[in-house]
Amino acid sequence: MSDKIIQITEMNKWFGDFQVLKNINLEVEKNKKIVVCGPSGSGKSTLIRCINRLEEHQQGSIIVDGNELTEDTKDIEKIRAEVGMVFQQFNLFPHLSILDNCTLAPIWVKKMPKKDAEELALQHLEKVQIADQANKYPGQLSGGQQQRCAIARALCMEPKIMLFDEPTSALDPEMIKEVLDAMVNLAKAGMTMIVVTHEMGFAKEVADEVIFMDEGMIVERAETKEFFANPKSDRTKLFLSQIL
């Protein structure tokens, strides 16, 4: 088995008549950290939502950990259980406490005994430093704490890949740091990560590669240092000059 954990070939996606993703080819190796950046509307969120099939692609193929994403729902659920995702709007379950948020999926999807699930959840909550909030409800926490809880919730499924969809865009500047710290720790622990973000500092610190997308296409893909030092395309140069 190759160590390519995600393989996307010739993938196209339309929303109605509008083509959001054009001819995407992307391979991600195990334990690599990849940052996807680009202007809004460039299709980066759609791309990573396709990876665990929250959006359907119409052409091409996506192979995650050896399984191709098809219509078959059983496979999709299996893949989703192996791919953790963190959303811009946190999307915690407001009717459950933080601890229950984290144990829900392990108990019901992975059939883990409740005790083990709670232990595991507390471990992960400890890692993102909100174990003391475990019995509160999401509505009682700050945005940064909620996002860290969302990371812990995804980790509790012990995924092989973590997808981050603009995890810090809905946060105050002060809270961005605590979430990024949690993500940096995760990266150092060797997780395969695909991160859509505008935090170039984070990209420089942890990313192995950076992908720049515009108008539904991958414009440039390069090693992090290379990407920031001498970007090849003009579009990338323009983008970097605007946000750096």
């Binding site: 659920e77 989703r80 259980a81 192996e82 995702m85 829900l104 019901w108 999807v109 009682q140």
Partner: protein, 480 residues
């Protein structure tokens, strides 16, 4: 005393303003009170118009004088803030107080002072007030309908037992809390059905109580010695085995007469009625319409076209026809489509009809709640690997149902108040019984008392339900 400015009351002469104002207000209320309760017009020496308006004017000036901001007196500030913020509000407050005082005496006299309750025939009702004797005499009928008097203990027993079983949730220990939903959703309705079927109806008995009780006692006693690991299987299998053994192997019919219950006399559903029927119909309709509505609402949002269009069809059909026609069809048309020898009881048909009818409303209410949830909740649940049912049961429905508690309560209240309509198929619950009693030649002319009585009962039931729904809302509130 500093100079008084009566147009601009202030804090400096607080007590002067306060005493003058309070005196004027009390005086005006006193005048209306005398007028209303004792028919004494103490100001009749004044011209008509003035004497009519005088209490209002006096009270108005009085309220104006006591309208002092930040007086430091807590009571006064509360009054000013709530009923006396400006001239217009003061005027309205006075009017409301006067109307209440004016309308109390006639109400009191009708309800209590001139009302009769003693005696047991219509002759005692001579006063101008209500004739509660009528309610007293007919009380039995209003509660039990045409149910035979000597058998009414069956209804009482069933209702008391069911009320008791229904309260179990309040006493459950932590250990049993997780089974409560199962209990209330499945076990409790089944028990209720058995009670109604065997006790109230006296339906065919397929279970011999004496053998059953002996079997239960023996198996419970033995149950103490069984390791807890096997208890579950034990209590399912052993009592039934014992029962069969007792009945067919050890004892023959002739040998044991011990504690054998005589079969209960069968009472057909046409004879049921009154408040007990209201309860029975409401209870079963509430229990059935909720899950049906839930599935219809999920079906309507489904991606599968057949399920989706069947759900839409069901919802739109049942919402589109009036309840009274549905009931009529259920009793007149429906039997025509059934095979000759097949018979479904009238009450059952009515319960099915009302349940389906209300389920359509419940479905739309729940759909409102489902649509109010942000898409992110679905995404999050899916991204954790949950399938359709897990996602809905664990994540979506708990939130959506919490959102629609007020709407569901609304529908349920409407359902309870729709039950009188079953009179069209000849079932007489409490309002039906009222109408029947109203036309009794011996008791003509007491419709008013009957309707007041029924409204009070309905109000108590509905208010209790609405309070309960409010409590639920508070209980499941997890937002900040």
């Amino acid at each position: 005393m500093k100079n008084l400015n009566f147009l601009q009351p202030d804090n400096n002469n607080l007590s002067t303003y306060l005493y003058t104002g309070a005196t004027l207000v009390s005086l005006s209320i006193f005048i209306v009170f005398l007028n209303s309760f004792f028919s004494k017009d103490v100001i009749s020496f004044l011209p008509d118009t003035i004497s009519f308006l005088l209490p209002l004017i006096l009270g108005f000036i009085g309220l104006h004088l006591i309208r002092i901001d930040y007086s430091g007196l807590k009571f006064l500030d509360t009054i000013n803030k709530n009923i006396n913020t400006n001239n217009f509000n003061a005027f309205l407050s006075l009017l409301i107080v006067f109307v209440v005082i004016k309308s109390l005496p006639p109400l009191l006299s009708w309800f209590i002072i001139d009302a009769n309750i003693a005696g047991d025939s219509k002759d005692v009702c001579t006063g101008s007030g209500a004739c509660w004797t009528y309610i007293k005499i007919w009380f039995n009928r209003f509660m039990y309908g045409m149910y035979p008097n000597p058998e009414q203990w069956r209804i009482n027993l069933s209702f008391i037992a069911l009320a008791f079983l229904g309260c179990i949730g309040f006493f459950a220990t932590e250990k049993f809390k997780k089974y409560l939903t199962l209990y209330y959703v499945i076990i409790y309705p089944v028990i209720a059905f058995f009670f109604i079927f065997f006790f109230i109806s006296g339906g065919p008995i397929f279970f011999d109580f004496s053998y059953g009780i002996i079997a239960a006692v023996i198996s419970i006693v033995l149950g103490f010695f069984i390791p807890s690991k096997f208890k579950m299987y034990y209590f399912i299998i052993v009592p039934i085995t014992f029962y069969i053994l007792l009945k067919y192997v050890f004892f023959y019919e002739e040998l044991i007469e011990l504690g054998k219950l005589e079969a209960l006399e069968w009472v057909e559903t046409g004879a049921w009625g009154g408040l007990s029927l209201t309860f029975i119909v409401s209870f079963f309709c509430l229990i059935f319409c909720f899950p049906i509505g839930l599935f219809l609402s999920l079906g309507r949002r489904s991606d599968l076209p057949i399920i989706k269009y069947i759900s839409i069809g069901m919802i739109e059909f049942w919402r589109g026809v009036p309840l009274i026609t549905v009931l009529f069809m259920s009793s007149v048309m429906f039997p025509m489509f059934l095979p000759e020898d097949m018979f479904i009881d009238k009450l059952v048909r009515v319960i099915i009809a009302i349940s389906l009818f209300e389920a359509a409303y419940v479905a739309e209410v729940i759909r409102g709640g489902l649509q109010a949830l942000p898409r992110g909740q679905y995404d999050a649940a899916k991204s954790l690997g949950m399938g359709y049912w897990k996602m809905h049961i664990l994540v979506i429905l708990p939130q959506a149902l919490k959102l629609v508690i007020p709407g569901i309560a609304n529908t349920f209240l409407a359902l309870v108040k729709d039950t009188p309509l079953i009179f069209v198929v000849g079932l007489l619950e409490i309002v039906g019984m009222l109408n029947l009693a109203k036309t009794n030649p011996e008791w003509l002319g007491f419709a008013m008392e009957g309707y007041v009585f029924a409204s009070v009962l309905f109000f108590i039931i509905c208010y209790a339900m609405s309070k309960y729904s409010y409590n639920l809302e508070q209980k499941y509130k997890t937002e900040r």
